[in-house]
Symmetry: none
Amino acid sequence: MIPKLEIFSQGEEIVTGQTVDTNAAWLSQQAVPLGFMVTRHTAVGDKLDDLVVLLREIASRAECCLCTGGLGPTSDDLTSEAVAKAFDLPLVFDPIAFEQIQQFFNQRQQPMPAANRKQAMLPKGAERLDNTLGTAPGFALWHQNCWLVFLPGVPSEMRQLFSEKVKPTLNQSFNLQPHTLVSIKTFGLGESLIQQRLEEITLPETVQLGFRASQHDVQTKLLFPPNFDSSARHALVTKLRNQLGEAVFAIDTTSEATGDLVTTLDQLMTRAGQTLAVVETISQGLLAGLCTGSVWLLESTYQQSLPRLLKKLGITESTENLSRLAQTIAFTTAEASGADYVLVQLYDGSFQALQDKTQATRLHTVLFTKGQCYCLEHTVVGIAKHKQHRAALLAVDMLRRYLQFGRL
Amino acid sequence: MIPKLEIFSQGEEIVTGQTVDTNAAWLSQQAVPLGFMVTRHTAVGDKLDDLVVLLREIASRAECCLCTGGLGPTSDDLTSEAVAKAFDLPLVFDPIAFEQIQQFFNQRQQPMPAANRKQAMLPKGAERLDNTLGTAPGFALWHQNCWLVFLPGVPSEMRQLFSEKVKPTLNQSFNLQPHTLVSIKTFGLGESLIQQRLEEITLPETVQLGFRASQHDVQTKLLFPPNFDSSARHALVTKLRNQLGEAVFAIDTTSEATGDLVTTLDQLMTRAGQTLAVVETISQGLLAGLCTGSVWLLESTYQQSLPRLLKKLGITESTENLSRLAQTIAFTTAEASGADYVLVQLYDGSFQALQDKTQATRLHTVLFTKGQCYCLEHTVVGIAKHKQHRAALLAVDMLRRYLQFGRL
């Protein structure tokens, strides 16, 4: 049986939205590969009754609970009190905890405020978790079949305490079988098209399949159970990868995160030691902006007016065939810049038509390298910014595909 | 009675920690000033039984539930099914939703995958919430005393749907006593400097003061209780605004969000009916990229190599005094582009030195307009991307200050 784990975040600043709860995501990222099944995240504010109810709920549902926040010295820090009330345990003064808190202030040559004494009161029978970064010690205790761990809410303190004091001991309390998570990251295929392509592959029942789509990529996620044969895992991932073809730009595993589409492009360009010049129209600088920080981006030009762009480049060709024209621009820019790659993107219609969200916009993207021109056409839709962002990503992806597969 | 509201996020990617749930914080930020008491955030994965249990729990505890995620076309998108099961409602085919989904694919000239038909199946009696950005319509329904609203998990779609379709109607269902939240948004002053400047102003005890700092701005937030006298509120806000001077670029109220620094610039430029050309070095296209979508951005140029940039512009001046050189570049660019404003930004040191996070970088930013040159110098620090981003924002802010206050 995979032990169930819940994460519980306490704090008025979380339920009111002043703070985004990054602790819960971080703890999940730690817990899943260890072999827990994380079933719920819950956040409540600083209300004693809400805390008591929630602690009892979680203890009856899960085998492990990781709780953050509410350990501070002020009156709205109620965790110990809530634990005492929920599980009917008296609060007991812990002299070692008290000494550590005093030491924290002594080291800073500050007097200890009276309020901090409260942080040395722990529920009876709880195991103290010494916090070397702040004044609040954490603690942990069993209630029936649930191991509840209480950590400070300050992310740096929470992370250190978890890594040093909690993570190494979880194996003693639980029979954990670590899982492996693989994410196949693609650009250019929609979520439903991916699903369609993968339909013919039969997954073992023990492997969980999931998808995550954003503007930047679609991730196909496979969660493998412990003891899943690693060569069978590799074979399956390869099968899926092949099915998704050149849309795959990177694969994440539990032990290795690869970054986004531009990170992949950056690695490919850096490895190739080559340079890029871009000529933008629809994306107004966004394409260069995506590559910001890259030494291989030599130059970029954006012109709202196409005739003015042509005049600047000394091109007299007519503007009727945009794909042809983009090729001429690419050739001229390659000559002038000396860049190894040139990306040029033109679009049908006016800048005003681009602003109209009911109108689709047709793109003509050209990649020029080593005397060769490659041409792709795409349609982008939606509000202007969305079309522009998509256009910039499509151009980035065109270069990525060429570098990764040597063709388009 | 203040109505209780809970936020419910669905997705395996959230409970496993692959995604930080920013939707919950964003929705809380919306709900609190409207007059709700947000009592809980809960996230669960893609398991039908967990979803059903949680939906029933929330409907019995809260008067309003905002739920995100699980509306997609794939097999792990289970929200409609869970709602149907939890509240004993059949799923009904919605022909209008289906037509919208088909249209989404038609516009992209793609065939609609069979899987997407599922998104047109809504629980009986639910009110459809049309989604103009994606394929997934949202929906909302009453269950006993709870109004449950279901929104897509993609943040951009969720935010638009909430703002356009949900927020305006909440007043009809609930007796809300809105608090007033005022955010004074500044650029160019640090959080502690702001605090220092505001120290001499005494706030009424009922008004809550808070700060939020990001790379883009520092927000000074004032939360006024219901029935706080509006002219006293205006007087207090004006006092704070004056204390913060020209760093203030916008003021948000509960009823009016003003957007970011670039939004303010966009309004000022659009109102003035004038145009801009930019010449970037350090920011590699990021400055133009920030203004993407703006009709007033006529052209942008980025060159990694300063000698090459000068050659391209036909400038023979020596490169020793960068502020002078930036003025010459601005003048040349104004002549060639015909733009009303020209921003030019140069920096000390090489592109390689910029990559070194231990080295600060000195910026020379010039604004040219109506035959006049304005020059500012700044120092930026940190990793390369941070320096580049800051440089772009400083240039944007320079133009914003000129347009807003007529001077620098």
